[in-house]
C-alpha cells in the first residue's frame, strides 16, 4: 500500500516516470476489464489510453475517499467501456455479444492459472474469484452480465427470461455479499 501511495504522490507531483510505472503495472488489468466488455482489441486499446489520460489529468484532484488508486482506475475503465457500448448500435452489437457470452460461459470459468501468478495483482484476482464463487449461480450470472458485460436490467431480464424485479433483487443480494467478502482486500503495489 505504501508503494502505491507513493506512486500516487509522484503522479500528483507530475512525475512522468510514475505514469510509465502505473501504465506498466495496470495495463493488463485495465485492458482485461475493457476488452472483456468491448471484445474489440483496437477499441479496447483506445479506451485504455483514455483511462490513463484521465488518471494523469485527475489524480491530483481525487478526494480522500479514493485512498486506493487501482480500484478508481478500474472503475474509470469500466465506465468508459460502458459509455462506448452504449454509443454502439445496440441491437446488432448486443446480439453478437450475447452469442459471444453464450460461448464464453459454456466453457469453464475464465480463470487462467498457468504463468499468471507472476502478474502483479494476481492474488487480488484470485480473491475476487473466490468471493464470486460463493454466490449462487443465478446471482453470479447477473453480476457477470451487469458488471462485466455492461448490460442493463431490462436487457438481462430479457436475456434470462425473468422479471426485471428479480434481476434487481439478485444484483442487490449479490452486492451485499460481495461488499463483505471483498472488504479485506488491500491495495497491491505495482
Amino acid at each position: 500500500m505504501t508503494g502505491q501511495a507513493s506512486l500516487r504522490a509522484r503522479l500528483v507531483a507530475r512525475d512522468e516516470r510514475a505514469l510509465v510505472e502505473l501504465i506498466e503495472a495496470a495495463t493488463p488489468w485495465v485492458l482485461g476489464v475493457v476488452l472483456g466488455m468491448l471484445r474489440d482489441q483496437d477499441e479496447a486499446e483506445e479506451v485504455t489510453a483514455e483511462v490513463f489520460a484521465t488518471a494523469w489529468d485527475r489524480v491530483g484532484t481525487l478526494g480522500d475517499e479514493y485512498q486506493e488508486l487501482m480500484p478508481w482506475l478500474l472503475r474509470v475503465a469500466r465506465n468508459r467501456a460502458i459509455d462506448r457500448l452504449r454509443r454502439r448500435s445496440r441491437l446488432r452489437r448486443k446480439a453478437a455479444r450475447f452469442q459471444a457470452y453464450e460461448v464464453a460461459t459454456s466453457a469453464p470459468v475464465p480463470f487462467r492459472e498457468p504463468d499468471e501468478s507472476a502478474q502483479p495483482g494476481w492474488h487480488v484476482h484470485r480473491s475476487v474469484h473466490a468471493a464470486l464463487a460463493t454466490l449462487p449461480e443465478e446471482q453470479r450470472v447477473v453480476i457477470r452480465l451487469a458488471y462485466f458485460s455492461g448490460f442493463t436490467h431490462s436487457e438481462i431480464a430479457q436475456h434470462l427470461g425473468v422479471p426485471m424485479g428479480t434481476v434487481k433483487t439478485r444484483l442487490r443480494l449479490a452486492f451485499d455479499k460481495l461488499r463483505t467478502a471483498l472488504a479485506p482486500i488491500r491495495d497491491w503495489v505495482p
Partner: protein, 241 residues
C-alpha cells in the same frame, strides 16, 4: 413507498451501471441533492472497488505500454501546441458575435494574449523536453572566428529531441544550416536552423517516420537549393549514438 425508495432500491444498479440510460440520468440528477444517497453509493463503490479485478488480465501487445505513455504525454503537448490557435479562434468568434467594430480592440488584445500564450507554451514545451532529457550531447563548432556549438537533448519518454545551435554567424548567402537524422539506412533531412543576430536557434523534433532506427545526427551547411534527401554541403557536426 416514497419516491426516495426508488433511489434506495437502485443504488446498487446505479453503481453497476445496470440502470436504463433514462433511469441513470434520473439518478445522476438526484445525487447532487441527496447526501444520504451520495454517501451510500460512495461506500458501495469503495467496497466493490476490487470487483473489476475478476476480469482476466490481458497481456498488452509488445510496445503498447510505451505507446500509451506516449499518447498521454503527447496529448498534453497537442493541447499546448494548439492552445494559441484555439484561443485565437475563440477570440475571433467572440468578436464576430459581439460586433466587429465595437470589439475590435478586444479582439486585438485577445490576439496579443494568444500570441503571448503561444510563445509561453512553446517555451514550456521546449523546457519540458530539456528537463526530461535522459541524454544530452554537446559538440563544439568552429567557423572562422566564431566558436559555437550544437546541443541535443534526447527525451526518452516522448521520443523527441530538443536541438540548440548557438554561437554561429548567419549561414553564408545561398546556404542554410541543415540538421539531419542519421539512420541505419542513410541520412534523413530534418529542419533548417537559423542563427540571426548571434541568437541561438532552437528546434523541438519528432523522430522521423522511417523504419530504420535513428543512430545519430549531423549538421551541415547546405546549398539552399538542395532539396534532395542527401547532404551535399560540408559537415559541421556528426554524432553517432
Amino acid at each position: 413507498m416514497t419516491p426516495h425508495d426508488w433511489y434506495v432500491e437502485n443504488r446498487a444498479a446505479w453503481v453497476s451501471r445496470a440502470l436504463e440510460p433514462r433511469e441513470e440520468r434520473l439518478f445522476d440528477d438526484h445525487l447532487p441533492r441527496c447526501e444520504e444517497c451520495r454517501q451510500e453509493v460512495a461506500r458501495l463503490e469503495r467496497e466493490l472497488g476490487w470487483l473489476p479485478m475478476a476480469a482476466v488480465p490481458a497481456a498488452p501487445r509488445p510496445g503498447l505500454t510505451r505507446e500509451l505513455a506516449d499518447s498521454v504525454l503527447r496529448r498534453r503537448s497537442w493541447w499546448r501546441r494548439h492552445a494559441s490557435g484555439l484561443a485565437a479562434a475563440a477570440a475571433v468568434a467572440l468578436a464576430a458575435a459581439l460586433g466587429y467594430g465595437e470589439h475590435r480592440r478586444r479582439a486585438e488584445v485577445e490576439s496579443l494574449l494568444a500570441e503571448r500564450e503561444r510563445r509561453l507554451l512553446a517555451v514550456e514545451d521546449t523546457l519540458s523536453v530539456m528537463r526530461r532529457a535522459a541524454r544530452v550531447v554537446q559538440r563544439e563548432i568552429a567557423m572562422g572566428e566564431h566558436r559555437g556549438g550544437l546541443l541535443i537533448f534526447r527525451d526518452e519518454i516522448s521520443h523527441r529531441w530538443n536541438v540548440v545551435m548557438h554561437g554561429l554567424p548567419a549561414a553564408p548567402p545561398g546556404t542554410v544550416y541543415q540538421f539531419w537524422f542519421v539512420t541505419e539506412t542513410g541520412m534523413v533531412r530534418s529542419v533548417e536552423l537559423r542563427c540571426e543576430d548571434d541568437k541561438p536557434a532552437f528546434a523541438t523534433l519528432e523522430m522521423p517516420a522511417t523504419p530504420a532506427p535513428v543512430m545519430g545526427a549531423a549538421l551541415t551547411v547546405e546549398p539552399a537549393l538542395n532539396r534532395s534527401g542527401e547532404p551535399k554541403g560540408p559537415e559541421l557536426v556528426h554524432v553517432d549514438f
